[in-house]
């Protein structure tokens, strides 16, 4: 057989081939399989039955899914707002050359980001336990409460606990990212502002914020996409059912419970795609809002 020489540029295909083979098998195929499954009804045992758009119709009227959307958005938005605010404020503070222990503080703030989310979830679940939780024991020792409070019956409170853990996990990450962003701002600009008599607060609002804006917008879009997929903490704190009373049910958790606890793979697949469409929708809305402001 005649062997043809491969042009030098086309040798690149050999380098990228392994990645794309793995990608096709372990990413794209499952995603398309899930899409097909979303038009079926299947319990994993009998043969799948084609049901058309019935799963999606059911999704539109499903009040648990609506609760899950609300919880997911609320929990993540609260966390993201505080993450960004702390990230920017602390990055500005830690950029002041006379503040001591800057490196150590950054390391402390970042550490929770590396800790397994499930471990954090179970840890806080124990700390807020009704009888033996350290929070109740501390409040009782300080005589702030007379009897233990059963926090876990209060859905709104447990949502805030999850927001708090998310904030704890990620604010340190944004401190690092935004510190690098502020370092990129020319020192002359800040010095000029100082000479013009701007105090530190004015420097932050008038100089640093506008220059940091592109990084903050990029960081928050990534945070929104991630925030729509919260699962580990909700599962660790509220089990697969999103206790109490669906209060900690998130969209991915609902997809998991539907597919792998109730063995309703078809409907679970439809929830996956509902979630995907919502992520696209939220990203587009957010970009529209921020880009419009930018143009003004």
């Amino acid at each position: 057989m005649h062997k043809r020489r491969i042009s030098p540029a086309n040798k690149g295909y050999f380098f990228i081939a392994p990645y794309f083979v793995l990608f096709l098998v372990f990413c794209l195929y499952p995603i398309l399989y899930t899409l097909r499954m979303s038009f079926m009804s299947w319990d994993g045992l009998s043969d799948p039955v084609f049901v058309g758009l019935r799963n999606y119709q059911r999704l539109l009227g499903d009040h648990v899914f609506r609760i899950a959307i609300f919880n997911t958005v609320k929990i993540s938005l609260v966390a993201i707002v505080f993450q960004m605010a702390c990230g920017i404020g602390l990055a500005f503070l830690l950029n002041q050359p006379h503040i001591r222990l800057r490196g150590q503080l950054k390391a402390i703030y970042y550490f929770p980001n590396l800790v397994t989310a499930v471990s954090l979830g179970i840890l806080f679940s124990l700390l807020f336990d009704w009888q033996g939780g350290s929070v109740n024991r501390l409040l009782m020792a300080l005589k702030l409460i007379g009897a233990p409070v059963n926090w876990k019956l209060n859905a709104g409170f447990m949502q805030n606990v999850i927001s708090f853990i998310l904030w704890l996990q990620y604010f340190g990450y944004y401190v690092i990212i935004f510190t690098a962003g502020i370092k990129g701002i020319e020192n002359d600009v800040l010095e000029a502002a100082q000479i013009d008599g701007a105090n530190r607060f004015q420097q932050l609002v008038r100089v640093v914020l506008p220059l940091l804006k592109p990084i903050v917008i990029y960081a928050s879009i990534v945070a929104i996409i991630g925030g729509m997929q919260i699962f580990d903490l909700n599962y660790a704190i509220g089990t697969a059912m999103g206790d109490p009373n669906y209060g900690t049910m998130s969209m991915v958790l609902y997809m998991y419970t539907t597919s792998f606890v109730n063995y309703n793979y078809g409907y679970g697949a439809a929830i996956s795609y509902g979630l995907f469409l919502l992520i696209v929708l939220f990203s587009v809305i957010y970009l529209r809002m921020t880009v419009k402001k930018e143009a003004r």
């Binding site: 499952p30 503070l93 006379h98 503040i99 929770p112 370092k183």
Partner: protein, 284 residues
């Protein structure tokens, strides 16, 4: 507002701003440390004590909590499973990301732009989108309840490819590739002998984040693994909280053991890890 505010900040001043700033920094540092401190302290106490009082200092019940835990669950096995899965997945992912990034950076084949755009677009896909399909795929490949079911999908990581490609474009000159060719090296040999040592800092940085990501992954093992002897740490810790229903000291100890390796690793590698975070941010 005092006159201090108008002094350049290079002059050290103890203004109200500074006191407030330090207070804020200190409160946040305490918030970051306190939950973990409580975790370690409670791991050394007996359940009855945890249930009836707030403990500030460590107790003497650590060994007994450990014995209770070991009678039901092998944490050592969990750590081994996690290490095996994460190390293998990371090595595979780093190698594949490296050659992929090199292919995209150094070769101008026709579909280069299109395929790279596809790769970037997949970064926007939610990780859980295909999980129902992953379960069925592993089922038909007879890989359910195996380490491979967690390792193989973890080898595909678009953001690692993206960052390594940026690094190659900045630090690996095309002339090195040319001189390798003149010396008679094949393309793969040029990559392995010449490029790999030069881009290894980028590979090492990405390795950390790939490792942490695999180590902490929860939903995949939750869906794909069934035998407790193969569970990685996050799943084992989750199961522990059910097994030791009311024995809080034991569960605190289990969580502590899952956090400790991360804490130790961070203590040694923090500079490297924090530096690695901003490699992309500054350039991007």
């Amino acid at each position: 507002m005092s006159k201090d505010d108008f002094r350049p900040s290079t002059v050290r001043s103890r203004s109200g701003w500074d006191v407030l700033g330090y207070l804020f920094l200190a409160v946040l540092a305490v918030l970051c440390v306190l939950p973990f401190y409580m975790m370690f302290v409670n791991a050394t106490h007996e359940n009855a004590v945890i249930n009836s009082s707030f403990q500030v200092l460590p107790g003497k019940y650590l060994a007994r909590n450990y014995r209770n835990m070991a009678s039901m669950i092998s944490v050592g096995r969990g750590l081994m499973n996690s290490a095996l899965i994460s190390v293998t997945a990371t090595l595979g992912a780093v190698y594949i990301s490296g050659i992929t990034a090199y292919g995209f950076a150094m070769y101008k084949f026709r579909l280069n732009g299109l395929l790279f755009w596809v790769l970037l677009a997949t970064m926007m896909l939610p990780a859980q989108l295909g999980i129902v399909g992953v379960f069925q795929l592993m089922n038909s490949l007879k890989l359910l309840d195996s380490y491979l079911s967690l390792i193989l999908p973890a080898m595909v990581n678009a953001s690692a490819v993206f960052f390594i490609r940026q690094y190659i474009e900045a630090y690996f000159p095309e002339s090195l590739m040319e001189s390798g060719r003149i010396d008679g090296c094949g393309d793969f040999m040029i990559y392995h002998r010449i490029a790999l040592p030069i881009i290894s800092p980028a590979l090492a940085t990405q390795a950390i984040f790939l490792f942490v990501g695999t180590w902490n992954n929860f939903i995949n093992p939750l869906v794909l693994m069934f035998s407790q002897s193969k569970f990685p740490m996050p799943l084992l810790v989750q199961q522990m909280s059910g097994t030791f229903n009311r024995d809080m000291g034991v569960i605190y100890l289990g969580i502590s053991i899952s956090v400790l390796p991360i804490l130790v690793a961070f203590a040694f590698l923090s500079r490297w890890i924090l530096g690695g975070l901003t490699v992309g941010a500054v350039k991007g």
